[in-house]
Each structure stands twice: as C-alpha cells, then as structure tokens.
Symmetry: C2
Subunit: 326 residues, 2 copies
DNA sequence: TCAAAAGTGTTATCCTTACACCCATGT
DNA sequence: ACATGGGTGTAAGGATAACACTTTTGA
C-alpha cells in the first residue's frame, strides 16, 4: 500500500451523480410509492434528479431541494440506501454517457386523509410492482402458479453449483419463495433471484431474459432503469428498520387508532400480525400515548386515539415496532 | 413532478468518485484496521483510491482491484457502507477540487497466525482510534475523566433545545456516554457527538473546535480527511451485522476453539460476553461443528476445535451470533 | 499440586405465542 | 338485536440471564 497521497489526481474519469428517491406513504392500508409518470414505453420511474455540488452542500440537501421544487410532499425521515456505480446496468436503456453514479434514498411522508391538496395520482401501490411481496392474505397465487414453476425449470438447469454465498439455485428458490418462513425484509434478494432467472422485464431489457419470460407473463409492473431494484432495496430497508426504530410514525397522522397503526405495520411488512400481541407490545413499549379522544368512523365500537410519544427517542437505544411472528 | 426525462442533461457538475475501505481483521483478540500510513501531519488514513469507470464495471470490482494491487490481503466479505457527498467536510483539509464523492466500504479479512507473509505493520488496533469503544474491561476511565466533564459543559450551554430527532444535548450525552446501557453499535453517534461538541481533532481541522479541546487532550488518534467517521460507520455496521449474519467467520481461521470465537466476538462488539450462554447459543444454532481435533496451546485443558458450517447459509434466513446482554 | 483454561447443569425470569371471550357503538 | 370492529385476561412454551461447579491439561 502506498504510504502517501494515494488520493493523488490520477487520470480519473469524472462522473455525474444522480439522486433517486423512493418516497413512501401509506393510504387506506396500502403502501404507496411516488412515481414520476410513465415514459414512452409506458414504464414508471422513481423521481430522480442530478446532484449539483455547486448548489448543495450535501446529497440530502440536494434531494430535499428538488423534491420540494417538483412535488408537493414534505419529506420526513430520509435515509440513504445504496450507491450504484454499475455501468452495465443501463447499457441497453441509456447509452448516452454511461458514467453516472446513482445514489438511492428512502424517504417517508404522510398522505393524511384531510390535509393539503396533494396530487395523489402520482402515488402508486408498491405491491403493483411487487405483487409477490404482499402476504397479508394467503400466499399470492402467482407464486405457486407462475413463479415457482419457472424457477424450478431455472434451477433444474444447474441445481447444485453454489453461488458466492454458498447457496445452490434450488436452495435459494426454496428459501426465498418456497416453504421456508417468509422473511419479509428479503425483498431485494427475491427480486434479484427473479432478475437472475431472467423472469422480469428488466432482465429482458438488459439482454438477460429467460425463454420462459414469454409464457410466464409479466411478474409485477416493471420500472425504468434499475428503479425497481432501488424500490426493492427501499422496501426491504423499511421493513427491517420498522422493527427497531419508530419510523412508522412518519407515515401516520398525528392521531390514530391502534388498529390503524397495526394495519399500517401490516401493509408495510406484508404480513398479518396478531392483534393482542401487537397491542400489548405497542402499549408497554410506551411509544404511544392516548390522546383522550375517540374515533367513531366505521361501524363498531369507537376506538381510542393515540399519538406518537416523541420522547421515546430520549429513552434508551430507541424502540421500534417488534413485529414478532404475527 | 415533471413527467418525462427528469434525468435530462442539466448543467451538472461532474465529480470524482473515490473509494475508501475499512478493512478489518482480528489478531490476538484485538480488532485491527488496515491503514495507509501516516501523512506529513502524522495522521493515519484508510486505504482509498479513485474509481475509474472505464476500467471497472462496478465499485466493488474497482475496490478489489486496487486493494489487490496495493496490499497483500485477500478480501472476503465486502459491503458498501455509505456515500459521502459533503463539500464542507474537507474544506480545510483539501481545497483542491472539492467535488469528490466518497463511497465507503467495509471489508473483512483474515490475519491467520501461520499463513502468508502479511505485512502486519500496516494494521493498527481500531481501539487506538476509538478508545472509548472498548468496554471489555470496565468502562474506560477516560469517559468519566475527560469525555463526560467536557460534554457536560457543552450541554450546559444549551441543555434543552431538541435536535432534529427530538433529543436534547443532555439526553444525547446520557444515552451515548452516560448511565444508559451500552449500545455497542452506536459508534457513529458517539463519534458524531464528540465531533459536534468540538472535542476531536477532526473538528479543529474543520474550524469547529471547542475551547475545551485543549484541556481535554486528544480523544483517540485522529485520521486524515473524514476517515475516522468512515471507520466509525464500519465498526457500527459490523457490530450490528455480526448479530444476525455469520460474518464473524470471515475473520476466523479455518479451525478455532469456542473460546477464541467468543474472544473475537468480544473484541468486535467491545463487550464482555457470558461464557455458558455464548456457548449454548453457538452450539445449538448449529453454525459450527467440531473438527474432531483439539488444540493444546496455552496453559490449560486442551480445547476442541470447531469449523464454520458453511451450509448454515442454506438453512433459513441465516443466523448470526446472538450476543445477548453478555 | 496448583494454576489456567475448558467445559457442563440447573434455575428464575421474562418474553413470545396463542387461546377465547367481553365491550361499545351504529343500523 | 345484531353486526362490526374495539379491547382484554391468562396460560403454555421457549429463550435469556445468571448462578457455581467439575474436568483436563502443563508447569
């Protein structure tokens, strides 16, 4: 290792930095993702924009700036996800200047029923891009009907060679889509598997389509560039983070019922939760407190309203919404 | 949000991408970090190098390439940490071209006693940069003697204004350095707090030093640029990851005793662990299996040798080394 | 025989999971 | 009165945390 100045100006290729955001909210028990409309090929994209180091001191400032300019959302929680430097990944789709680095972000916002005049048409259900990720009702039929048969053929072509993590195709399929317990935060792994197997539209675009892609039909709605991969990263991170940080409240209105909170947790995690256990946990983890008010919206007994106790942040390592096994 | 082509070529400033790696190994129950030697000011730096998008298709390939060139380590596990775009962060230290984006990586490697002729002098104990992070023996005296008094004065200057997470200075100090239980993975938060309070050398360099910095004296060895922040990120990530992924074995030799494994876990996490509970967990989590051999190195009864069972990766969501409360 | 480290057995406690039942309102 | 969701009590099982004691070697 060279001792000094290994950052010296080598003949390095300058690149452009692009910020891409997965902006998530929940409406009517459905997780929504802000999309920047469809392109000529009919594909949705995540909002994204160039980072101008002259105008903004940090990525996050740059991100907040152009989101404020372009959309009527006020970002709450913002977290950097991953930086993609792949040249290959957009070979087909975008052969102008290949030297673009994308920094992906997860951002949470609210879509409260009553407040400002948000243009909700820009938000789309995230499960329309990832239908196999919604396990709130049964295991989606498409998994048994389409995904598993196609993946079975794919792994039959090379069942035993372990990949770099020591897993064979057969094992990966079983763990991610088969009878193993549903690991909700492995969203990216599942998408990656479908991509490698050539079963999603993005693989076709990159010239990696499987011959099976025709007979299986589209698996979820594709997105432009690698935005579906970024969304998968965001979903997995949010599902994981929710368990140990109280981020879910960034997507809740000021006051909410415990059932609404549970439904939101279920919507995000894609799993059904156990009512009593969820309540017990929420109540004695002290992340919420009753407002004293009650809501009597839907048929049934009025529900007590709660609010997030911001001071939990001050108490110890900071709790999340332990989601247990449902 | 603009519907189409919001990635259109705006007048964007191209930047350079720099890869910086925290390469970790364990020797003699001490976590070690590969450093690129000291500069003229006597400060160590993490190995780092420019990313050349023409030569390498992905960041990780670029990283592995120049690490292979420059150092005699074979990287095992590699994980992207965070991408820093701050212009401010190197204002003082480096006012050449400020438009540099740094992608930080964590990498694990082995430093086995017997094998190749590694130049170990390049590895430094990570606790010499973060002495307050080693809680294996008592709470380090410097915390009560130097850190807490200085932080007390700092928070006395503004005890009650909550920051963006709703925490006051007083509360942050108590949670991160005070009587709250030690949250070993919050390495970055603790460093960030010391930086904000102007108590580390890096803050002085950035013109943010506290008047107290003189009387307190150096808190850990500083690093060049913001490398100590990257190392803090790496330490926190590794401490967290260890709990749910079997990454620790990337730093172990082929065969090891359970005590050696425990000492390594303790070295990384900075906490003392409970022997029986650790053993019980390791044995019935089935991440290791006996080799049948025994080691009779140091004084005492010979210890059974174990090896990592690579097939655990194939069984379910993948276990780590549950570290409990010690 | 003694130091030093390896290796076990057992219990109290808490958390997780899961059962089934009662309560308050609108129609 | 009854449907609809809100809201609870309590017990079984398992994991965790903590206790101290036995075993096997080298010096």
């Amino acid at each position: 290792m060279d001792q000094q100045e290994n950052r010296a100006r080598a003949p390095t290729m300058p690149v452009e930095v692009n910020l891409t955001a997965a902006i998530v909210a929940v409406a009517d028990d459905e997780p929504m993702i802000l999309v920047a409309g469809a392109d000529s090929a009919g594909q949705a994209a995540l909002p994204s924009g160039p980072f101008d180091p002259l105008a903004h001191r940090t990525f996050e400032m740059g991100l907040r700036a152009w989101v404020n300019e372009q959309a009527d959302v006020r970002l709450g929680y913002v977290e950097q996800l991953y930086t993609f430097g792949d040249r290959g990944r957009q070979a087909q789709a975008d052969d102008r200047d290949p030297h673009v680095v994308s920094v992906g972000y997860l951002a949470l916002t609210q879509l409260g029923g009553d407040e400002s005049g948000l243009d909700i048409t820009q938000f789309r259900r995230w499960y329309s891009f990832f239908p196999w990720e919604d396990r709130r009702a049964k295991k989606p039929a498409m998994i048994e009907a389409k995904i598993l048969p196609a993946l079975a053929k794919w792994s039959a072509r090379d069942p035993d060679t372990p990949n770099s993590y020591g897993l064979t195709r057969t094992e990966r399929v079983r763990i991610l889509f088969g009878d193993a317990p549903f690991a909700e935060e492995s969203v990216l792994d599942r998408f990656q598997l479908l991509y490698e197997a050539g079963l999603v539209e993005e693989a076709r675009r990159d010239g990696r389509a499987s011959p099976l892609i025709g007979e299986v039909g589209p698996l979820g709605e594709p997105m432009r560039h690698d935005h579906r991969r970024i969304l998968a990263t965001a979903m997995g991170r949010l599902r994981a983070k929710m368990k140990y940080r109280p981020v879910i409240f960034e997507m809740m209105p000021q006051a909410f019922t415990l059932t609404a909170l549970q439904h939101t947790a279920e919507a995000i995690s894609g799993r059904r939760l156990h009512k009593q256990n969820f309540r017990r946990f929420v109540e004695n983890s002290a992340v919420v407190e009753p407002t004293g008010e009650f809501s009597n919206r839907t048929g049934g007994r009025p529900a007590a309203l709660f609010r997030f106790r911001r001071d939990v942040l001050q108490e110890r390592p900071a709790p999340g919404l332990r989601v247990g096994r449902g």
